[in-house]
Each structure stands twice: as structure tokens, then as C-alpha cells.
């Protein structure tokens, strides 16, 4: 790929998104802002989980744990540095630098956690992995709950409210660009090969464990980003936010949208987030509805809304649609 292509594909989305996000931030009232931010966080989670569950076909159900690692790391940093003012910068700029550094650190530690969990578990075939990620997810949460430094069961409160629509939107764009670029790259092809047939991929010289671990680490890092963004909006960070229920929500989004479809994940995350917003009164039925949704979906349409296709593939050809027939590109 030429350098121009790289700039166009990786940087242009940010440049296009930035003014739109800025306008949205200026004009959105407070309640809409909260919904949009939680929507953005869910899109980041769903798209990043799709890298593991959809592209590589490895079924992980412990996404919330990596989210927790990112959230706690970012929260510790911003709380520790909240009085610090970087010399020579205006207050907002200094805060933005601190927040960016905190989010980055959160992503990094979440990636490390992903590596620690991924290396032993990804040697296994898919069905063990689900159980193991579930177990690790719980362990990470229990460790956090029992660590004094991280506030124990009550967590950390009084975080600075740094997260805005612009931050969240840039996170979404970064996640989607990452997923799109990954899918189209050599690495992405290796992952798709693993998903389609692991034995064949290995026979063709694909380092299956290596690629799976890398996908897992990338996915964990973006889950950490989502965690960091979320806690700096609601200004509190407790272990109860990162239970199974959260992991399960993300899994439902990915499965509903179609494992392997980025736009499917985005659509499913949007639909589910908005539906939950409208059905606030039925909170106790939420998990029951999710689990029924999963079972019915698997029995009737296991490929989800989009399968492995993308929304833009369905466009007519003169608009850039590819009319993919549901197979890996």
C-alpha cells in the first residue's frame, strides 16, 4: 500500500469525525450526551470483542475483566494527577494530556492482562477458551475487589469527568479503523484463516497460537480504552460494573450483529443500547431477555444480522459495494 493510501485509510476518518463530534458535543443536551457516550463505549467493546470472537473465531466471554483493568488504571492515574497542572499549558490542555496518558496506560495494562490470560488459554481449542476466559474474568474481578489500593468492593469515586463526546467518538473511530485495517491486512487474513479452518491454517504455515494471542491482546487493549472512557463519565469505578453481566452484554451484541461483521457489531450495539434506554423499567428482565435472545438466535439465525458481511457490502456496486457472498474477503 502506498503512503497516500495509508494516510487516507487511517487518518482521514479521524479528520472527518472530529468536526462532527465537536458539533455534537456543543449541541447535545446532558441526557443525550450520556446516552451517546454509553453508546460509544458499547460500540468500542463490541467491535473490539469482534476481533477475537468474529475475526479469529475464538469465543472469549471475559471482556469485562480487561475493561476493568483499563478503567482502574486510568482512574488511578487521573485521581493521582488531578491536582497536577503541566507547566506552560492551559488547564484544559493539561487535563487532556493527563487523560490521554491515563487512557493509554489503561490500554497498555489491559493488553498485558490480555497477554497473561491469552498465552495459556489460547493454546486450547475454542470451547475450552470460553470457560477459561470466564474463569479469568471472575478472578481478575475478585482480585480487584480484594485489593485495598484499588478501593476494594466500594471502588474509586470522585473521578474527574474528563470523558466527552469527542473523546468517546475518537475512541470509536480508532477502534473501527483498527478493526477495518486489521481485517484487510496480512494479520487479518491469518485470523480469518484460523476462523475458517484452524488445522488447514496451521498446515499452511500460519502461527495459529501466535496470531490468536495477538488478536486477544489487541482486543483487550481496546476493552481497556472503553473502560477508561466509561468511568470518567460516570465518575465512579467499582468492581460491580465489570461482572459477567457486562461481558455477556458485549457477547450478545457481537453475536446479534454477526460474528466477523464490524458494521453488524455497531448496529447491534446501537440497537441494544437504545433499547435498554427505553426499557429502563424492565431492568430485572434484561439478562433473561439477553439469554433468550442468544438461544433463539442460535436456533434460528446463528450467523446473526449480518453474518460475516458488512453493511457497506450490501450497497449497489457503483456506490462501492462489493456484494460479498458471506465468505471471508
Amino acid at each position: 500500500m502506498t503512503r497516500g493510501g495509508f494516510l487516507l485509510r487511517s487518518l482521514a476518518p479521524f479528520l472527518v469525525a472530529l468536526p462532527i463530534l465537536w458539533l455534537a458535543q456543543r449541541s447535545a443536551p446532558a441526557d443525550v450526551t450520556i446516552v451517546l457516550i454509553s453508546l460509544g463505549v458499547n460500540v468500542i467493546l463490541a467491535v473490539s470483542l469482534n476481533v477475537v470472537n468474529g475475526f479469529a473465531g475464538q469465543f472469549s466471554i471475559g471482556h469485562a475483566a480487561f475493561m476493568a483493568v483499563g478503567a482502574y488504571t486510568a482512574a488511578e492515574i487521573t485521581v493521582a494527577l488531578r491536582e497536577v497542572q503541566i507547566a506552560g499549558l492551559p488547564v484544559e490542555m493539561s487535563d487532556a494530556v493527563v487523560f490521554a496518558a491515563a487512557l493509554g496506560a489503561g490500554m497498555l495494562l489491559a493488553a498485558v492482562a490480555g497477554l497473561i490470560v491469552g498465552v495459556p488459554s489460547l493454546r486450547l481449542r475454542g470451547d475450552y477458551l470460553a470457560m477459561v476466559t470466564l474463569g479469568f474474568g471472575e478472578i481478575i474481578r475478585v482480585v480487584i475487589e480484594n485489593t485495598k489500593f484499588l478501593g476494594g468492593a466500594t471502588g474509586i469515586s470522585g473521578l474527574p469527568p474528563y470523558t466527552t463526546i469527542v473523546w468517546t467518538g475518537l475512541g470509536v473511530v480508532a477502534t473501527v479503523v483498527m478493526a477495518r485495517r486489521l481485517e484487510a491486512s496480512t494479520q487479518g487474513r491469518a485470523l480469518l484463516a484460523i476462523r475458517e479452518d484452524e488445522v488447514a491454517a496451521e498446515a499452511m504455515g500460519v502461527d495459529t497460537v501466535g496470531w490468536k494471542v495477538r488478536a486477544f491482546v489487541i482486543s483487550a487493549a481496546f476493552a481497556g480504552l472503553a473502560g477508561g472512557l466509561l468511568v470518567h463519565k460516570i465518575q465512579i469505578c467499582t468492581p460491580r460494573m465489570f461482572t459477567f453481566v457486562k461481558s455477556m452484554e458485549v457477547v450478545v451484541m457481537v453475536v446479534l450483529g454477526g460474528m466477523g461483521s464490524i458494521s453488524g457489531s455497531i448496529v447491534a450495539a446501537t440497537v441494544l443500547t437504545l433499547a435498554l434506554e427505553w426499557l429502563r423499567g424492565l431492568d430485572q428482565y434484561r439478562m433473561v431477555i439477553y439469554s433468550l435472545l442468544l438461544i433463539v438466535l442460535m436456533l434460528t439465525r446463528p450467523e446473526g444480522l449480518f453474518g460475516t458481511r458488512e453493511a457497506w457490502d450490501l450497497l449497489p456496486r457503483w456506490l462501492g459495494g462489493r456484494r460479498a457472498d458471506g465468505r471471508a474477503p
Binding site: P120, G126, V199, M248, M287, V288, Y290
Partner: protein
């Protein structure tokens, strides 16, 4: 020395429970190559089934041995039926599909049981619905209200824990100069061993067991040889679920607090035990369960009890890194 003996006693009684649950995982994996995610929740349902049967019989007021046996039989029947239904409705339609599909369904079933049991009782739900309808100005017909009032007021149990009634009086003995053993430990150990011996006989000495092993070895060929594969798989699910129900009742005897998510941790740990022993191997599940129970008890006893839940996962990582096929597992080469 006394301390060590005490840990051995506790570890064995814990280990037999894990072994009973692990047997369900391992048998189902053997015939279907599916990790039955909902198995830990079948265990939870077993505890609640026993609780409901016991309250219907009035065990709390006048416990007798006959009632205790009835509670056992009732809970076993209910979990067996549940296992049958799960397989028939959720897993069988997906058997020809990719394994991931069945796995996601299994997760769905597991969460449905866990969170379905946390809902308020049907009568409360109906009352809420009635209130909401009235709020929207919809009149509820009298026959519907009457029907609502007859819905069970105790099921689903909701998130608050229940306490299992004692089926017989607890007697504590002190043996060997300081080791505490209760009659519950003894009964639980004997029952667990009895069921494991029975299972061993079923698997290795009966026509059903032979058929089960044949299906586990190669389901297609077994079908061609005239073995009713569907019926064998159903039977395996029923057998595994019954054992989970037994395990739940044995635990409820000494730890009477039961709640809808009680199956989660024992389910995960029993899965670890099954993997440790070699998933798909019946003796492996028993050895794995005992090893996990003893290991947990020793670690909790000699270091800190907050490591108790960690030991299972440490064991899992170790096994997966060193010998992924487990102690008794066959090394399988994936063929195309």
C-alpha cells in the same frame, strides 16, 4: 498431625462433591464434545428442587429419614428432567451445526437459568403486570386476576438466599484425638461413593454404558451399528444432571444457604477438575475432583483462605500448559 487429618477429611468430602459434578461435564463432553455450560446451573436447580420438595413435605417441622429419601428422589427426578429438556430443546437441534453455535446456546441456557431464577415470583410478576396495565387504563378481566392469584408465590425464588432444612439431626464426633467428623460428612461421603460406584457399573457393565462408550468413541459409526445415538445422548444428559442434583443436596446438607448463582463457582471448579483428570474420562473426573478438593482444603488451611478460589484456576493454567489432555485423557491428533 491432627490438623492434617482434619484437612484430609474436609478435602475428601469437598472433593467427592466436585467429582460428582465433574462427572456430568466429562460424560457429556465424551458423547457430544460439548462443554455443557449450564451444568453448574443444573446443580443449582437441584438444590432448589430439593428445597421445594422439602418444604412441600414439611421437612422443617418433622424431619424423618423417609422424607429425606423422598427429597433426594424428587430432586434427582427434577434435575434429570431438566437435563433431558435442555438437551432436547437447546442442543439437539444444533448438533449438525458448528460447535461454537452449541456452545453459545449452552451459555444462553446457563444465564437463562441463573437470571430466570432471580426474577420475582410469578405471582409478584403478575401483580406488577396488572398494576402496569391498570396504570395504562387497561381493565384486567376478573378471570385473569383469579388466574394470577393462583400462580406460585415462591417460584422463581428471586435473588435472596434460602436456607435448606436439615433432613436429620446433626451429630458431631471427635475421632483420633481431635478430628471433627459429623454424620453429614459420613453420609455425604458414603452416598457420593455409592453413586460413583453405581456410575462405574453403569458405564462399564451395562448395555447402556457400552453404547455410551461407543457413541463417545465414534457417534457416526455407532449409529450405523444400530445404536440409538439420540437416546444414548439423552440418557447421558439425564445421568449427568442427576449426579449434579445429588451433589447439590449433599452440599446443602452441610452448607444450607442456597441462591440462584450458587452453581457458578462449583460449576467452574468442577470443570477444572474434569479438565485436570482428562475431559471425557470417567475415572479422570473422580480423581480430578478429589485432587481439587484436597488441594483447595490444604491451601486454604495452611496459607490463607482467600487463596481458596484461586487454586482451581492455578491448577487449570498448570494443566493447560503442561498436559492439556489431562491426567487420563487420550492425546488426540486433529485430523482433517
Amino acid at each position: 498431625m491432627t490438623e492434617l487429618l482434619q484437612h484430609l477429611v474436609n478435602g475428601t468430602s469437598l472433593g467427592t462433591i466436585y467429582a460428582l459434578i465433574a462427572l456430568g461435564y466429562t460424560m457429556v463432553y465424551g458423547v457430544l464434545k460439548l462443554i455443557n455450560f449450564a451444568h453448574g446451573d443444573v446443580y443449582m436447580v437441584g438444590a432448589f428442587a430439593g428445597y421445594y420438595v422439602a418444604s412441600a413435605l414439611g421437612v422443617q417441622e418433622r424431619p424423618t429419614l423417609g422424607k429425606a429419601v423422598l427429597v433426594f428422589v424428587g430432586a434427582m427426578a427434577i434435575t434429570g428432567l431438566l437435563g433431558f429438556l435442555i438437551e432436547r430443546l437447546a442442543y439437539r437441534p444444533l448438533r449438525a451445526r458448528p460447535r461454537l453455535t452449541a456452545l453459545i446456546t449452552a451459555i444462553g441456557v446457563s444465564f437463562l437459568l441463573e437470571y430466570g431464577f432471580q426474577l420475582p415470583s410469578f405471582r409478584t410478576q403478575a401483580a406488577n403486570l396488572e398494576g402496569a396495565l391498570r396504570g395504562w387504563g387497561v381493565a384486567v378481566p376478573a378471570w385473569l386476576s383469579a388466574l394470577f392469584a393462583r400462580l406460585p408465590a415462591e417460584f422463581p425464588p428471586g435473588p435472596t438466599p434460602r436456607f435448606f432444612p436439615e433432613p436429620f439431626e446433626r451429630v458431631d464426633w471427635t475421632v483420633l484425638g481431635g478430628v471433627h467428623v459429623s454424620n453429614y460428612d459420613v453420609v455425604s461421603l458414603l452416598v457420593a461413593i455409592g453413586f460413583m460406584v453405581a456410575l462405574q457399573l453403569i458405564v462399564f457393565r451395562t448395555r447402556f454404558g457400552t453404547a455410551m462408550r461407543a457413541v463417545s468413541f465414534d457417534a457416526r459409526t455407532a449409529g450405523l451399528m444400530g445404536i440409538p445415538v439420540n437416546r444414548i445422548i439423552s440418557g447421558t444428559f439425564v445421568l449427568g444432571s442427576v449426579l449434579a442434583g445429588v451433589a447439590a443436596l449433599l452440599v446443602a446438607g452441610s452448607r444450607p444457604r442456597i441462591d440462584p448463582i450458587m452453581g457458578l463457582m462449583p460449576g467452574l471448579k468442577a470443570f477444572v477438575a474434569a479438565v485436570f483428570g482428562g475431559i471425557g474420562s470417567v475415572p479422570g473426573a473422580m480423581v480430578g475432583g478429589l485432587a481439587l478438593g484436597l488441594g483447595e482444603e490444604m491451601v486454604a488451611g495452611y496459607t490463607s483462605s482467600s487463596f481458596r478460589d484461586g487454586i482451581a484456576f492455578a491448577m487449570l493454567i498448570l494443566v493447560l500448559l503442561v498436559r492439556p489432555e489431562g491426567l487420563f485423557g487420550r492425546v488426540t491428533v486433529e485430523k482433517v
